[in-house]
Amino acid sequence: MGLLAKLFKALNSDASPWQLAFGIMFGMLMGLTPWLGAHSLLILFSVLFLRVNLSIFILSWLFFSGLSFPLSSVMVDIGESLLLNNEGLNGTWTYLYSTYIGQLSQFYHTLTLGSLVLGLLLSPPILVLSKVLIVQYRERLMGWVNKLKIVKFIKGSNIYRLYQALGE
């Protein structure tokens, strides 16, 4: 209920579609990658410093964290193929391995590298697709959805009112 309330509040708010789309994108990056690492700090900094919708970021983070479990073997395979089966990159990895940035990035962990690469590859399409869908939702579905009994029920709930109050 709380999550749905968050979602509806964000979608129905005055926030720009790009703010919401970036929230989804950063949430996806945070959710797919292991949270212990320098990349997590960078994402957190971006989300807080840039005007990204935090509710959507948190929801997206939770959603993609759940999705990362079934995807983990694929992401490990991507990491393995990049780290071990690509002789052309070996020199780069060896150099990075002996640098502070390389060690902080933990690139030599197959799941970290694989999930980060997959997340970065998916980021542009997810960003654009999210923006398009949000715009389409607001134009075509928002009015109809708001009339649904379940939505009215949620909007009438104490949690939603609490979120509204916090938002204002």
Binding site: L48, L50, M75, Q103, H109
Partner: protein, 587 residues
């Protein structure tokens, strides 16, 4: 731009990071304690306790206090415990996952101390070698002479067997060969015929040719007999050479057996055979473990640390390692000072370059102890180094301990025999080397001014106890072998001889009677075989002499007698031909 940037968000980020840092710093000591206890326990295979942890930021250092390592072999004791461990850590390499400790100080190190409560053991080590477990035999009676002769591997018995075997081997063969030899009559007939053939003046060449043919046939017969004589002579010589030393050994064996069996009359030889190991084995073994502590503790701990990291990293994704170009090992302690507390004395050891990746730093770990005179000893010097490689360790160590005062050391506590070293002085020196985990070395334990209390419960153990009580000096030679995981120790000393002499000096009348009986039986045992073999030997010598004489005769017969006749004839015919030719040429 104003719409994109959220300044309060930056403040929130800083606050979050600040809070995380604050929490980390506040709980840093606690986390270091948890991490150290866990990783050290994994490395040693048993519970590790740390009472307190503190840290400093400039220079970055960590101090662990009251550290206890449970002994996985004996959970009620600590393998090692320290009052404090202080380390000054080089911070930048930590970001490269390299633990570089500039200076490590361990103070108040004690080994083999009783714990307040039993520690947990996660990995059972291999069982310890117990030297005192070969319990003393139960029999309290003096064995009978017949029993001793029956069960003892006597030299006399062996000598009789060997003499008999040599006799059997040669006797029949020589008899057979002797029968085939030409007798005196045959040799005389040969001589007569040779003289007849060589003494005749042959006028007719045809007669000479016939005589030559007959002489050749005779020569063949003589040669065949000569071969028989030569073969017999060689066999006789071989038999004499084989039997002579065996007869000598047979004569000496009863005396040697008598010496050996004296101890059997006094007690049980098996029991007193290795009293050194029985009484001093555990204690010297324990001392040797102290000598090897550097390798036994440091080596496996350093080696394990790498393996366990690999294990953890397999759980989700894995850490891929690339060639390290930073020229730093994963762990390096540049300088360490370890203060070992023993019997209220502080023994300080200095270490340099402790690591498990010596190939990376290109030099071995060095350690030394140089302790001058103290209440306990006159001097102690230990020097060593080790270099750990993938193929195994390479190390060497030497030690020289002078005048260590020993007091109230429990040597052996068994039902039948117990002994305590009340007082003594220990000198010890030795060397050991490890190459690819193979240990080799020798040590000398020189015990002086000994005062030992010992009690036995039967005739044998009472005798051993008595000998131990009279013991004043003892030199034990120790040999080290085996592998680093399974070190083999062996001891030898003159204690067994001392014990035997002491026991013989206290023989009872009954025992002396048995010794006399034993002597008589041993002498009786060799009498028959000795007479037989000596008689046979004498005959063989005679035969050899006869064969020698016959061979001389035959050689004389075969000398060039007939050849001279033929040569004379040839010369005569030649002269005649010359004369005829002269007459024809010069008229």
């Amino acid at each position: 731009m104003k719409n994109i940037i959220r300044w309060p968000g930056l403040i929130a980020f800083i606050v979050i990071i600040g809070l995380l840092s604050l929490v980390s710093i506040v709980f840093l000591d606690f986390w270091i304690k948890l991490a150290a206890e866990k990783s050290l326990a994994e490395a040693t295979g048993a519970e590790v306790n740390i009472a307190r942890v503190s840290h400093t930021f400039s220079p970055f250092g960590v101090t662990l206090e009251q550290v206890q390592f449970t002994d996985p072999k004996q959970a009620s004791h600590n393998q090692a415990q320290m009052v404090s461990i202080s380390a000054l850590v080089d911070l930048p390499p930590l970001l490269l996952r390299k633990i570089i400790i500039d200076e490590l100080t361990i103070s108040g190190l004690e080994v083999n101390q009783l714990r307040e409560s039993e520690g947990e053991v996660y990995r059972r080590p291999q069982s310890l070698k117990q030297f005192g477990k070969n319990l003393l035999p139960d029999n309290q009676d003096i064995p009978s002479v017949d029993d001793i002769l029956a069960k003892s591997p006597l030299k006399t018995t062996k000598a009789i067997e060997e003499t008999q075997q040599a006799y059997d081997k040669h006797s029949e063969k020589l008899k057979q060969q002797y029968k085939q030899l030409p007798d005196k009559a045959k040799l005389a007939a040969y001589k007569k015929r040779v003289e007849a053939l060589s003494g005749t003046d042959y006028k007719n060449p045809l007669e000479l040719v016939a005589a030559k043919k007959e002489f050749d046939g005779l020569k063949m017969e003589i040669l065949q007999d000569k071969q028989k004589l030569s073969g017999f002579k060689q066999s006789a010589s071989e038999a004499i050479q084989d039997l002579s030393p065996k007869i000598a050994q047979l004569k000496a064996a009863p005396g040697q057996d008598y010496q050996q069996l004296q101890s059997l009359i006094a007690g049980d030889a098996d029991a007193i055979k290795d009293v050194t190991t029985l009484v001093f084995g555990d204690k010297v073994g324990q001392w040797s473990e102290y000598a090897l502590a550097a390798f036994e503790i440091a080596g496996p701990m350093l080696a394990d640390s790498g393996e366990q990291q690999q294990e953890k990293q397999k759980t989700q994704g894995r850490w891929v390692e690339f060639s390290d170009t930073s020229a730093l090992p994963d762990l390096l302690i540049r300088k360490a000072t370890v203060g070992l507390s023993w019997e209220q004395e502080n023994i300080v050891s200095e270490w340099q370059d402790i690591t498990h990746q010596h190939d990376v730093i290109g030099r071995p770990t060095l350690f030394k102890v140089d302790s001058g005179a103290s209440k306990l000893w006159q001097s102690l010097k230990v020097d060593g180094d080790f270099w750990l490689k993938e193929q195994g360790a390479k190390a060497q160590q030497s030690w020289d301990l002078k005048g260590l005062k020993l007091a109230d050391l429990n040597l052996l506590e068994q039902e039948k025999l117990s002994s305590t070293l009340l007082k003594g002085l220990l000198n010890s020196s030795g060397k050991l080397a490890i190459d690819q985990d193979q240990v080799s070395g020798t040590g000398l334990v020189d015990l002086q001014q000994l005062v030992i209390a010992a009690t036995g419960s039967n005739q044998l153990t009472n005798a051993i106890a008595g000998a131990l009580t009279q013991l004043n000096t003892l030199v034990i030679n120790t040999d080290l072998g085996g592998t680093l995981d399974d070190i083999e120790l062996s001891f030898n000393s003159d204690l067994d001889k001392q014990l035997g002499s002491a026991m013989l000096a206290n023989l009872s009348g009954e025992q002396k009677g048995k010794l006399d009986e034993l002597k008589q039986q041993l002498n009786a045992k060799i009498q028959g075989p000795l007479e037989q073999s000596a008689g046979e030997m004498s005959q063989w010598l005679n035969w050899e002499k006869l064969a020698d004489g016959d061979l001389i005769n035959i050689n004389e017969m075969l000398s060039a007698k007939l050849s001279d006749v033929v040569d004379d004839k040839k010369e005569e015919v030649k002269n005649k031909l010359k004369d005829k030719l002269k007459n024809k040429l010069f008229g």
